[in-house]
């Protein structure tokens, strides 16, 4: 592992004078954001370089997970504290941004405190429609309909209301509205980009040219 960053004087001058330094400053900012923040945004707000912020983020992430990092300024190690067991929360990088989450193990406990959670589950029809859009985006409703074999208008409306998909311009040829997944979808999936979705090809044996099939036959 790289050297812990605990001497940020070079970049964020006055941070070092504050208790906990740059690391604590970063934590303070993470406490008030209500959507994932990119290292660039954090770096600008903290007056640190992006590299330093990224390194601090990874350190915090490891620390919250129970891997302690020995800091040069805390050589007084008579008190180990709770450093070696994971915290109740974790720091995760999702959809390009970082954000604090409660640890999954405590889902039931936390759920009873957070009244309006993200509980509404998707129906099979909604999941299939979401999957087609995720893998074929940007894509028109007609194409999704062709793949699923049923009209998807109302399901697309519901997915849009729930913020999982959004309109993404019009098809240059047909003029049909195109749809794509949102960054909220990535957040809900816990991934950085749609490229991280599981590969579709293993599920499509010998049908790599599949798009031609439904294009020719259907529309």
């Amino acid at each position: 592992m790289s050297e812990p960053v605990t001497a940020p004087e070079q970049t964020g001058g006055d941070l070092s004078k504050l208790p906990g330094g740059a690391r604590a400053a970063l934590e303070a900012v993470l406490m008030v954001i209500d959507q994932p923040a990119t290292p660039t945004e954090l770096a600008a707000g903290l007056n640190l370089t992006v590299d330093v912020v990224e390194q601090l983020l990874v350190e915090l992430q490891r620390e919250y997970n129970g891997y302690t990092v020995k800091a040069p300024d805390t050589d007084d190690d008579s008190d180990a504290g709770f450093g070696t067991s994971p915290r109740g929360f974790e720091l995760r990088s999702i959809a390009g941004g970082w954000r604090i989450y409660s640890r999954a193990e405590f889902a039931d406990l936390v759920g009873s405190f957070v009244l309006e959670g993200q509980t509404a589950r998707l129906t099979q029809a909604a999941l299939e429609t979401l999957a087609v859009i995720a893998y074929r985006q940007p894509v028109s409703r007609a194409r999704v309909s062709a793949i699923r074999g049923v009209n998807v208008d109302s399901v697309v409306r519901t997915l849009t209301q729930r913020g999982l998909i959004e309109e993404s311009g019009n098809d240059p040829e047909s003029g049909a509205i195109l749809y794509r997944t949102t960054s909220y979808f990535l957040e809900r999936m816990g991934i950085g980009s749609v490229a991280e979705l599981p590969q579709l090809s293993p599920h499509l044996p010998g049908l790599e040219g599949i798009e031609e099939f439904y294009d020719a036959g259907r529309m």
């Binding site: 993470l30 209500d34 995760r92 099979q124 409703r141 793949i147 049923v150 049909a176 979705l197 049908l207």
Partner: protein, 280 residues
């Protein structure tokens, strides 16, 4: 090849499990995959032919349940049912050379159905993966707390320039139901040229205006398709309503004779009703 179901009389009642699943399929492909896996078959031509009867029975079952069925949804089921029937019929006939256009069209329909079914299967599988990921992730709650009071106070004072009337106009447009443009419904699977009732009425008019009464049999003797026969029949009804023709039938089930009664000079097909003339 197994005959999946003996008939409607025995089918539904004997298989309550199947009936319970009736409403749960999310489309024709879902149903097909369900039927294929129920019979523990691979997705093959055999499998498709085998489950044809059950597929059609499912559609009948839905009708019996009196489910409100959207037309476009029903049509998609029917298109696939028709393709399945073709496949099954082709398997029942003696194997032969691929000769005419119809055979080639059937092969294409079969390949297309396979491709679409496999494609759907793939998406159904990844939808399952997406679902399990979503459920796993739902166990983590993000911190998204309200801004602490002293930070909220730092926000710049809101610029507000809307009069109540402007605000009401905004509400008006925001509350207006949004028209979702309808999905284009493919018609490529529909065949047959259009036949105009009006044109057929003119042909009948020309034949009858020569003065001699003609039988319906004669009037349709040169029709090149059933569609033309139907169009001529409808044209006759129209002409009768227009008091342009009269009918004579000497005995029950005997030949129907048609004679011209209108003033030939002033009659024109333009007076006929438009109801059959809607453009596709």
């Amino acid at each position: 090849m197994t005959t999946a179901v003996d008939g409607a009389a025995t089918g539904v009642a004997k298989k309550p499990g199947f009936e319970v699943r009736l409403a749960n399929f999310t489309g024709p492909f879902d149903l097909l995959l369900g039927l294929i896996s129920k019979h523990q078959l691979d997705i093959t031509e055999v499998a498709l032919a085998t489950v044809t009867d059950e597929f059609i029975k499912y559609i009948r079952g839905l009708q019996k349940l009196g489910e409100e069925w959207a037309l476009d949804e029903a049509s998609e089921f029917l298109v696939i049912a028709a393709t399945l029937l073709d496949l099954k019929a082709a398997r029942l006939l003696p194997a032969g050379e691929v000769e005419d256009d119809e055979d080639i069209a059937l092969l294409e329909a079969r390949d297309l159905l396979f491709a679409r079914l496999l494609q759907y299967k793939a998406f159904k599988e990844v939808a399952g993966l997406i679902n399990s990921t979503l459920e796993l992730e739902a166990a983590r709650y993000p911190r998204q707390v309200a801004l602490e009071g002293h930070f909220a106070a730092l926000l710049p004072e809101l610029v507000w320039r809307h009069t109540p009337e402007q605000f009401a106009a905004l509400a008006q447009s925001a509350l207006k139901p949004k028209d979702v443009p309808a999905t284009h419904v493919g018609l490529s699977h529909l065949h047959g040229s259009t036949v105009s009732v009006k044109e057929q009425a003119e042909i009948i008019g020309l034949k009858l205006q020569q003065g001699k009464p003609l039988s319906f049999r004669t009037l349709i003797s040169d029709a090149e398709s059933t569609l033309v026969v139907v169009a001529r029949f409808l044209a006759l009804l129209e002409l009768y309503r227009d008091k342009a023709v009269g009918f004579d039938q000497l005995q029950p089930l005997g030949d129907l004779t048609v004679h011209w009664t209108a003033d030939t000079a002033s009659w024109s097909s333009g007076n006929l009703s438009e109801e059959y003339e809607e453009q596709p």
